[in-house]
């Protein structure tokens, strides 16, 4: 058996450390994958726009714009954090409003009505 000098000890420790870091990141990568598999929907975050939330949750955008009291045309592209600040609401309130509108736009509820006419096109 060869002598296990300090240099080899350092290499062995670095080997175990890099293995542990690799496993740590695999676990971190698997977690969202499992969440994705079971939940399908992403959690609503402050960077998302109303259009993205509608796209991600597969509901018509006008339903969410109306729920937030915003005109659906032209589409408001601001992130939710900015809308929350402008409306003096917390992100939690915005999230609750959107999730409530999403639930009511999906089965078993009847499909949402078509968007109201564009106010710009009326005389």
């Amino acid at each position: 058996m060869k002598k296990f000098g300090w240099r080899k000890s350092v290499v062995a420790a670095a080997f175990l450390l890099s293995l542990a870091i690799g496993i740590f990141f695999v676990v971190r990568a698997v977690r969202p994958a499992i969440y994705w598999h079971y939940h399908k929907d992403e959690p609503i975050e402050s960077w998302m726009s109303v259009g993205y939330v509608a796209h991600s949750y597969h509901v018509p955008p006008h339903v969410l714009f109306l729920a937030l009291g915003l005109p659906h045309k032209p589409p408001d592209k601001r992130p939710l954090s900015e809308i929350a600040r402008a409306q003096n609401r917390s992100m939690d309130e915005i999230r609750t409003i959107l999730l409530d509108a999403i639930v009511h736009a999906r089965p078993p509820y009847p499909p949402p009505p078509p968007p109201p006419p564009d106010p710009r096109s009326s005389p």
Binding site: V11, F15, L19, A29, W36, E42, W47, H55, K77, E82
Partner: protein, 203 residues
């Protein structure tokens, strides 16, 4: 409002020019969440708010430009300074060693830091410049790696346009896991060599 909120909000308004600016600055070394921005741009393309081809062309061109700024500044700005200092304090052989190491491993380092471990990209630009890694070879590895990076992440965003958050989290963590396992394999190989019985010496 976080930097991610701001970037994404502005990108859906200003589109490709903003993407170009963000990717250039990030490639020089400013820590922007740029991989996530590319995934989001792919998603915006799927939603019809941007076009796919301009995103890919502008993203690749910006990344290549940013890398060359980093490389150029360190090769023609930083390197002469370091050479002068090391001549004074007597560390010239270390620069020679760094140059040799860069020539041997630089290509794969540049390529993989373009698209896999992108956080290391700006550092590799600087070390390649300081070690005077040949420009022609730098250009080849850089272009290959950056185009792959942009196409990969924009297309992931395009395909999984309703799962931008999940894709970014999964890819970000997987990249670090791959890097850690590559390091573990290299160290494991060294350990294996330590404990392998030595070949009988030939007299």
């Amino acid at each position: 409002m976080s930097i991610t909120d701001y970037l994404l909000a502005e990108m859906s308004v200003h589109g490709v020019p903003l993407l170009f600016g963000v990717v250039t600055v990030a490639s020089v070394g400013v820590p922007f969440p740029v991989t996530f921005t590319l995934v989001a741009a792919g998603s915006l393309a799927r939603q019809g708010e941007m076009s796919l081809l301009p995103i890919i062309v502008a993203g690749s061109a910006a990344a290549i430009l940013g890398d060359h700024i980093g490389y150029g500044l360190s090769r023609w700005g930083g390197r002469p300074l370091i050479v002068r200092i090391s001549r004074r304090i007597g560390g010239e052989h270390k620069i020679k060693k760094a140059e040799a190491l860069s020539k041997k491993w630089g290509g794969s380092g540049i390529f993989f830091s373009r698209w896999l471990i992108t956080e290391l990209g700006p550092w590799l630009n600087v070390t390649s410049g300081i070690a005077a890694y040949p420009l022609r070879r730098f250009v080849i590895w850089d272009v290959l790696g950056e185009v792959l990076w942009v196409v990969l992440y924009v297309m992931l965003g395009y395909i999984f346009s309703d799962r931008v958050l999940f894709i970014s989290q999964i890819m970000g963590n997987l990249a670090w896991a791959i890097l850690a396992f590559v390091v573990a394999i290299i160290l494991g190989w060294r350990l294996f060599r330590y404990f392998r019985p030595a070949a009988p010496a030939i007299e």
